[in-house]
């Protein structure tokens, strides 16, 4: 009798301990691909992408998976060059189980892979924000982030209507993203009555680290503000060197100037920069706050959430939503078509709605860096969610 009781107790204990392991009896799997720079000089971005993807996977599987199927992820490393990136994306597309994937965070790489995506008829969530991605008119390529033409408009409005710049200098990184966003910002500024003089456009090479000569000239010119368009690390270096140079101008930056990398690296030197940002952990929407908090919880001791992480996270959440709308996890065409039915979907970064240009984002954040935080000042919309 005593032995039976002990066995019964043990059986109950085993059942209780095993409960979390089989809280969802998944009915098969669904595989999503992800391409990120997991080695090489851009690994910092890759870490964020990986964290975002894994967090989304965890959240989706905790809620029962996608249509009862467990979400699996396959990662491929795009290192830090075009060839490796296209190879990685091609490899992911050709995994038999992968039904959609998160492409490169770099626009130029996404554009290079676009014909292969079309050939393979597989949904790609592009991590890049270039306005040239929609120009490909690829029905299988989608953008979660705001495209640069829209960001340029918001930056121009912030520069003129909020800061009051009339004769700004623009310092930008000379590659696909930087040149694109600079062109869009200059065009938008012109429409708002502010002509940016040719001599006030300062390009720099992607591997530039010595900004002092440029900043010296900006300081000694007649400009009344500085607009920075850059990636995270140059944004940090520019912030630090601008402070060291004693630049006393209103400062407006692209999303990267509000990034955690720029803020935590440049510390007080990052303060004062206004940003038109894709993301700030200071977000106030319920979905945004939930993401920011769970990211902090999941990756304790690591840097706070940043744009690449939330872009990857939201891409996967949108994919899951499309699967639910299409009621399938295997029919790639149906899942791709279902993305057109996304309407006012509350994501962490924005409220997403389908648009003809395949760009889901409807808003960006207006932030000001204070005490190394990107303090949210406003959410600015480019269209109705």
């Amino acid at each position: 009798m005593k032995g039976t009781r002990i066995r019964l107790c043990l059986a109950v204990l085993v059942a209780v301990l095993a409960l979390p392991l089989c809280s969802f009896a998944f009915d098969g799997t669904v595989t999503f691909g992800a391409v990120a720079p997991l080695s090489g000089t851009n690994i910092m971005v890759g870490d964020f992408v990986k964290n975002g993807i894994l967090l989304a996977q965890k959240h989706i599987n905790e809620r029962g998976g996608i249509l009862g199927k467990e979400l699996k992820i396959v990662f491929e490393d795009e290192v830090d060059n075009l060839q490796a990136s296209v190879n990685a994306m091609t490899k992911v597309m050709n995994y038999p189980d992968v039904v959609a994937f998160f492409g490169s965070t770099y626009s130029a790489y996404c554009i290079a892979a676009s014909p292969i995506v079309l050939q393979n008829k597989i949904t790609m969530f592009a991590g890049g924000s270039s306005a040239n991605i929609p120009k490909e008119k690829n029905p299988y390529v989608w953008q979660v982030r705001m495209t640069d033409d829209q960001s340029g408009l918001l930056m121009a409005k912030a520069a003129t209507q909020i800061i009051g710049m009339k004769n700004p200098a623009i310092l930008y990184i000379q590659e696909s993203f930087g040149t694109g966003l600079m062109t869009q910002t200059v065009a938008a500024l012109k429409n708002l009555g502010v002509e940016v003089k040719e001599q006030n456009l300062y390009a720099h090479n992607p591997d530039e680290k010595q900004f002092s000569p440029i900043l010296t000239q900006i300081m000694n010119s007649d400009v009344d503000g500085l607009i920075g368009i850059d990636h995270q690390m140059p944004a940090a270096i520019i912030s630090m060197q601008a402070t060291a140079a004693g630049i006393d101008l209103p400062l407006l930056g692209s999303s990267s100037f509000a990034s955690v990398v720029a803020r935590e690296t440049a510390k007080e030197a990052a303060d004062g920069w206004m940003g038109v940002a894709d993301w700030t952990p200071d977000v106030t929407t319920p979905a945004g706050k939930a993401f920011a908090e769970s990211y902090r919880e999941e990756y304790k001791g690591k840097p706070d959430s940043d744009m690449p992480a939330v872009t990857a996270y939201d891409s996967l959440i949108l994919f899951a939503e499309a699967c639910k709308i299409a009621n399938t996890t295997t029919d790639k065409e149906a899942i791709n078509n279902a993305l057109q039915k996304i309407k006012a979907f509350p994501g962490a970064m924005s409220t997403y709605s389908y648009a003809d240009n395949h760009c889901f984002s409807t808003s960006q954040f207006l932030t000001v860096n204070e005490n190394s935080r990107a303090v949210l000042k406003d959410v600015v919309y480019t269209r109705e969610p």
Partner: protein
């Protein structure tokens, strides 16, 4: 063009650009000197020179902020680490391939080493840029005008001291002459009882130390991160401009590259690098052996 000249004629801007240019030139010179020393000693172009600079920045950051050594202790500890890296680098990258029938094998080996160093640094110190405090805080001012960060001036001073020490080593000291002898004729040097393994190791230690000190000096301005290696392209340009095989040429060439880079930003920031390499093309067209170099054909 006219606007660029107008900018350069402003004394304050000219001074700022000159100091920036000389400081950067010094960093390129430290790398370029290392390149020349290796070319002269073992006939190998080291494509991991930039990564050695980067590693130096990481090592000094680690000793300062992770091991928490005060500066007077950090400097000798860093020197020991640089020496160790130099010896390891030699035995892993050069030594196993020194008798290879394909002379390019060692060059390709340095390219592989560059990638390996980047990945090791990422695994060890993470992917985020690290901040190092300047050795001398503050900015040099003339009146109300900020001219340049003291760190740039210190970089120039430290660079000049290191260059002087290397010259003293090779021109005045017996050890330097032994190294030169081993570099010029390894076989004859061995017949005279000079241990060429030690002279080669000493060369590697000097090369790594020069590059690493460069990394240490620029870390406060450029951040400590794996992209620091990209600076080696300018060092190559300095070597070619000054002349292959000439230490003096490499130093002068690097200073020229630094100054051209700095001054050209007054004319164009978009094509700044293009201007630097245009200078290189012009030098190659009119003086292919470089300013101080011997004719490559003669060397061959």
């Amino acid at each position: 063009m006219l606007q660029g000249l107008t900018i350069l004629t402003q004394p304050i801007i000219f001074m700022q650009l000159t100091i920036n240019g000389v400081a950067m030139g010094m960093i390129y010179a430290l790398m370029a000197m290392g390149l020349i020393l290796l070319i002269r000693a073992i006939g190998v172009m080291n494509f991991a020179q930039g990564e050695l600079l980067m590693l130096g920045a990481f090592i000094t950051w680690g000793l300062t902020y992770q091991v928490k050594l005060p500066l007077p202790l950090m400097i000798p500890a860093a020197m020991l680490c640089f020496a160790l890296v130099g010896v390891i680098f030699m035995f892993l990258v050069y030594w196993p391939l020194r008798n290879n029938s394909y002379p390019t094998a060692t060059v390709i080996s340095t390219m592989g080493a560059a990638m390996a160093i980047r990945e090791i640094a990422t695994i060890t110190w993470g992917s985020l840029p690290l901040v190092a405090a300047p050795l001398v805080k503050g900015v040099l001012r003339v009146g109300n005008m900020r001219i340049v960060q003291y760190q740039y001036l210190l970089t120039i001073v430290i660079g000049a001291i290191l260059i002087f020490l290397v010259f003293m080593l090779f021109e005045k000291l017996y050890a330097g002459r032994i190294m030169q002898a081993a570099a010029q004729d390894k076989y004859a040097a061995e017949l005279l009882g000079i241990p060429t393994i030690l002279t080669t190791a000493a060369t590697y230690i000097i090369v790594v130390t020069l590059a690493s000190v460069g990394g240490f000096m620029i870390a406060p301005v450029f951040l400590v991160n794996v992209t620091l290696g990209s600076l080696q392209l300018r060092a190559f340009a300095g070597v070619v401009t000054g002349g292959f095989g000439s230490v003096k040429g490499a130093i002068l060439g690097s200073l020229i590259i630094g100054l051209v880079e700095s001054y050209s930003s007054a004319f164009t920031t978009t094509y700044k690098d293009a201007v630097v390499f245009l200078v290189l093309i012009v030098v190659l067209l009119f003086r292919p052996q470089g300013i101080f170099g011997e004719l490559i054909a003669d060397k061959a």
